[in-house]
């Protein structure tokens, strides 16, 4: 952090009048990743305060849900919440609804859901790191990553016909089984993708300028991260060894062998921007491990057997949460004796993670603020819902 310089004095000892400058970063600004608006108070290049203003992309998700005629109808809306990680959103909703309705699905459904969620995590992390690179002025890694994200989207397209908003996981099952050539194509993708991961490591993550820009910037200490309920790479980057997939297992994650990646402060302090970025980078390797295992042991079964014809739950509530690419994605469903959900609240990880920005960007420089924002990895669709 850079200390504010002392105000200049005239020869008679009077201080010169200097003013803080207030600038609006957003809603139309290249590095707010959408339509976030930050009211930034600047002392020269140094940020003295940040006031986030949200809601420019508020699409009344929760209100819409209360007007559906079926629980299944919510799924397309959930897709649109975090539009770069739709599969995970569906998973969160489906996990919560199945918990509420006490539906058991067969192992094949669990396995396919895990494969999809992990592919989606990779796709989302690719965007996160790529756009983070753009924020740092490195445009090229972004396109390298998009080339591989494209392959994941092709896999999704092959499976359910859509590239971005899938409506694939349904309560009690899946809309389709995976196509016959899916396993083969996924294996091909994994082989090719491992090369890209290494390539971008060389190009971006261990680039000297990149390290200079990100190490020791935007440090988020452990206790602050927990107090702000940060989750996902944000929390793990701060050195907290916590991952919902391991610590509160849902579907069948406990069947697989993989490691939780934790920030170690390799280039600076634990919890800095570099750590958060690196956690994402390394998590992709772990996701690949999970996918490889899941594909190798994919069980047989009917994926749409458990889909209920009509959903009318007993009154009650359930909170289901999954580890999305951005962190704990929770869906809280309250049901009454009706086919319409009474209340659905989405606990969006990006929304919660973003709330810490004021705390960690005070005293940083304007360019650091951009780095911090990129490392939080917000998707405005999810922040505003």
């Amino acid at each position: 952090m850079i200390e504010t310089l002392e105000k200049p004095k005239t020869s008679t000892g009077k201080t010169l009048r200097t003013e803080e400058m207030i600038v609006n970063m957003g809603p139309q600004h290249p590095s707010t990743h959408g339509v976030l608006r930050l009211e930034v108070v600047l002392d020269g290049e140094i940020v003295t305060d940040v006031i986030p203003h949200l809601g420019y992309l508020h699409r009344c998700f929760e209100k819409h849900c209360e007007h559906m005629t079926s629980y299944q109808q919510v799924i397309p809306y959930v897709d649109r919440m975090d539009y770069v990680a739709s599969m995970t959103n569906e998973m969160a909703y489906v996990v919560a609804a199945e918990k509420l309705l006490k539906i058991e699905v067969c192992d094949r459904v669990h396995y396919i859901r895990i494969i999809m969620a992990e592919l989606q995590r990779i796709a989302s992390h690719l965007i996160a790191i790529g756009t983070f690179g753009i924020d740092m002025g490195a445009f090229t890694p972004f396109l390298y990553y998009f080339r591989d994200r494209e392959k994941i989207l092709e896999l999704f397209e092959m499976t359910c016909g859509a590239r971005l908003l899938y409506n694939y996981m349904w309560i009690g099952g899946l809309s389709h089984d995976i196509p016959p050539q899916f396993v083969e194509k996924t294996k091909e993708f994994i082989v090719g993708f491992k090369k890209t991961l290494q390539e971008v490591n060389d190009l971006l993550n261990y680039n000297e300028i990149f390290i200079k820009r990100t190490a020791n910037v935007g440090i988020l200490p452990k206790d602050l991260a927990i107090n702000y309920a940060c989750s996902g790479p944000m929390l793990r980057g701060s050195g907290v060894n916590w991952d919902l997939r391991r610590d509160d297992p849902y579907t069948m994650y406990d069947k697989f062998e993989w490691d939780v990646i934790v920030g170690k402060g390799e280039m600076g302090t634990v919890g800095d921007v570099w750590d958060r970025n690196m956690v994402r980078q390394l998590e992709m390797w772990e996701s690949l491990r999970i996918i490889e295992q899941a594909i190798a042991t994919l069980p047989e079964g009917d994926v749409s057997k458990a889909i209920p014809k009509r959903i009318r739950p007993v009154p009650g509530d359930a909170y289901g949460r999954v580890e999305g690419p951005r962190g704990e994605l929770g869906v809280y469903i309250i049901a009454e004796d009706s086919v319409t959900p009474y209340r659905i609240k989405a606990r969006a990880p990006a929304f919660v993670n973003l709330s810490v920005i004021t705390e960690i960007s005070k005293g940083a420089m304007l360019a650091d603020l951009v780095a911090i924002m990129g490392s939080i990895d917000i998707v405005l669709g999810e922040v505003d819902r």
């Binding site: 949200l54 809601g55 508020h58 009344c60 929760e62 209100k63 209360e66 918990k99 509420l100 006490k102 602050l224 927990i226 107090n227 702000y228 309920a229 907290v240 916590w242 610590d247 509160d248 009650g316 509530d317 359930a318 909170y319 949460r321 704990e328 929770g330 809280y332 309250i334 009474y342 209340r343 609240k345 606990r347 929304f351 919660v352 709330s355 810490v356 705390e359 505003d384 819902r385």
Partner: protein, 158 residues
């Protein structure tokens, strides 16, 4: 720690303020707390050695037609257990003490609940609308909410 044990400790500590609990045959066991006592209960839940609920997973507001509810999903990073706390207040006096001073994350969640449901969080440092425009009227997630015809001269229903 099981939900039953958590309930017993809370009951012993707060007595009257712990209203009821449903611990069996539900998706998530929950404990209902009197609205006025939620802050004290939260402080206890966070600081007590046996609980250490340091992570407020989610805070949601609900409209129960005549009553407004707030649900707190608590989790402990160190002890890896969880519990759900619920409070209810009448719609005409929707005052709930803020837990912002205990879990900073509650700040935005409470602003959201205030914005969409009109729950008034006492002692909240910065209670403004968060998702809707500052000059929006009404709280849309209330069950009796009527969509306004116009907002700043723009037609709302389409």
């Amino acid at each position: 720690m099981t939900a039953q044990e958590i309930y017993d400790i809370l009951k012993a500590q707060f007595g009257e303020a712990v209203l009821e609990a449903k611990l069996e045959n539900v998706a998530d066991p929950f404990i209902k707390i009197a609205a006025g006592a939620i802050k004290e209960v939260s402080v206890f839940a966070k600081n007590d050695e046996r609980f250490q609920f340091d992570y407020l997973s989610c805070l949601s507001g609900v409209d129960f037609k005549g009553k407004l509810g707030v649900t707190y999903h608590l989790y402990s990073m160190t002890l890896r257990h969880k519990i759900v706390l619920k409070v209810e207040v009448p719609t005409d006096a929707p005052n709930v003490p803020s837990v912002e001073s205990i879990w900073k994350t509650a700040n935005w969640h409470e602003r959201e609940a205030f914005d969409l449901l009109g729950i008034n969080f006492l002692e909240h440092p910065d209670q403004r609308r968060i998702l809707l425009p500052d000059d929006w009227e009404g709280h849309p997630l209330r069950k009796d909410y009527q969509t306004p015809e116009f907002y700043n001269g723009m037609k709302v229903p389409y």
